[in-house]
Amino acid sequence: MTAAAPTRADPDYNFAYLDEQTKRMIRRALLKAVAIPGYQVPFASREMPMPYGWGTGGVQVTAATLTPEDTLKVIDQGADDTTNAVSIRKFFQRVAGVATTEATAEATLIQTRHRIPETPLTEGQILVYQVPIPEPLRYLEPRETETRKMHALEEYGLMHVKLYEDIARHGHIATSYAYPVKVEGRYVMDPSPIPKFDNPKMSNSPALQLFGAGREQRIYAIPPWTEVVSLDFEDHPFDPGGAREACALCDARGVYLDEVIVDDAGGRMFVCSDTDHCRGRIEAGHVGASAPAAAPHGAPA
């Protein structure tokens, strides 16, 4: 596991890269977002030294939220060592000099793309989501002027019609990720492209959840202990789904698994998407069906 102690931040840049005026603007938006759970607050997103679509919203939220005392964890697809996660972690090591960790429990601030860690979050932690399209109604109505009105009027019929059409056609709601939720009984919200498997973790979490969409210039939030309900129908209740298999490395069940193709014949195995959770289980002695005896998951190859 790679963890790094705090270092001296690059003196060529302001702490956490952004200038103080930009941080104030983002901070004001964050406070409004927390005060109006699930509502998308517009903010004047800045160009960052990484492309839009690479997590610039999450990076700006993290930059405005980090203190020198924080311990940062960055994951993409549940893993700490995917290229995007590595790149963002390195960025903050350089410009903020903060300590980093891969252990969910040790982190005070976690920036994520597409997953919520398996290890339950705790009071005092902050989870920052990278969001591509913050508007849950966007694929049903492309105009911001229209979707803003729908949120203002709490007019979510279009979404229910879409979900019901799914049921009529497929017998299910055919949305497997970015599954829309309703926050504290008011705003319908896009949970970012997490698998619907993760949706239940958002509700009544002890942690603060912040969402940043850089290109679309929106910030939104779920305070701790806030009710988040995945949209469904009485006769078709929300089903988080999930793999029937156990992790081939740590034997975990009830966690989100990646399917990996292992040979030319199409042989496949299922392994934890959350690499930190998997490593923790292996270290605790859990053994999956395909666990290599000498080279546990997560050890340097």
Partner: protein, 199 residues
Amino acid sequence: MTAFAAEALDGAFADAPAEASRAFRAALDAMSRPGTLQHAGGARPPAPLPPAAGALALTLVDAETPVWLAPELRAGPVEAWLRFHCNAPLNAAPEAAAFAFGSPASLLAELDRFAIGTPEYPDRSTTLVVLLDAFEGAEAELTGPGIRGTARLALGSSRAEILALAAPNRALFPQGRDLFLAAEGRLAALPRSTRLREV
């Protein structure tokens, strides 16, 4: 240099990026967990502005945020201090203010004029920074997002006024006004989503 001017130049963050980040986290924690008291230090504003309110101003207020100051804060050292350190427009009408600083009574006197946002942009509202002497005495019970079950906050003799400041939020939500409460170096928040009652 007069003593008045010297006081205005003093008392900002010594290390702005680090101290503003800590003060913001205090504000964020306060707003995320209504009823909790957070330490917001690093600022030494002139009286009667509590240090926590000074830290909040240094962290959130700038040239882009019109500020309304209660009569008791105008034309004195507090106004000079805010002008020098935040470079903010300080004579905003209540309707146009992004932030309003004042005692519970002063804020209550203008409450109806402070912005509540629009149905489409409920964020375009005035944030009230309520200046208190202490978090002691008579309590209010809080429920809502950020609170596991219920929370309690000691508001003392200002309780009735603070409840009155927050009272319209119930009917206005998602429009409404968010409150920060500052006493000495400590900060609490009552976002518009919080429900209060006397206990």
